[in-house]
Symmetry: C2
Subunit: 161 residues, 2 copies
Amino acid sequence: MLKIRPAVASDAATLRSLILGLAEYEKLTHLVKITEEDLLRDGFGPAPRFRCLIAEWDGQPVGYALFFYNYSTFLGHAGIYLEDLFVWPELRGRGIGKALLLKVAKIAVDEGCTRYEWQVLDWNQPSIDFYESMGASLSKQWIPVRAEGEVLAEMARKSRD
Amino acid sequence: MLKIRPAVASDAATLRSLILGLAEYEKLTHLVKITEEDLLRDGFGPAPRFRCLIAEWDGQPVGYALFFYNYSTFLGHAGIYLEDLFVWPELRGRGIGKALLLKVAKIAVDEGCTRYEWQVLDWNQPSIDFYESMGASLSKQWIPVRAEGEVLAEMARKSRD
């Protein structure tokens, strides 16, 4: 029996283990540094940096969707960016991930957002097929770019003021 | 003579023309719907959806950088996402775009952000070379996905509640 509800502060430990589960699936566990304290501060304090839904199956948390606003200067509207979507592998095939994805779409529409975006790993064919079955478009042209760590620090130092 | 300053409400008309300039460069002019009213509401009201820097050359606005927070659940920190970076073509080659890019990097570092991200079009080799010269990484694996318009509306309708 599936229930989707907003995450609350007492979900921080659960949420961290779900994030670790996602990282494991993406083969990126070595990159995970987030702590429960980070989650409490950034998700459940006075100025939240993200919003999160928890999926429960028979009362147990089994997946999550984590998202925040972005902005389109072409549309002139805020959109929703879905940072994470994850369901424990042993609970897949029950429509839990789909229910999370669609629930965030409903939140986007209810809040007047005209665009809903996320990213997928190019080797993750089941997810690519799933997203395309909904009618979502995979970009062939846009390449994500990132600066972090010492690269970012050096860019900041080179800034004129 | 270059000066970079935060955009203010009275820049809305200027900012819209710069956004149209960016869209023209990206061959996407047909997608631009943003109005001055959208910019005033979303950038300069009580709950801004974005922040913006204006570059002036000899007192005239010639470029802009528009950005907002995103969030990394692996790092456990907010980052900065640079949505737009643009300088009028006839003013290029003077380091204006680089100064805008670096200034936003400095804002990221000053605010404790550990990551700075944006996207580039795969045919835009001058920009790709420029970003790589700074040490930024282009993703080979992550594909941007998008749902909007009727696709998004249909996803929202299919949500269970």
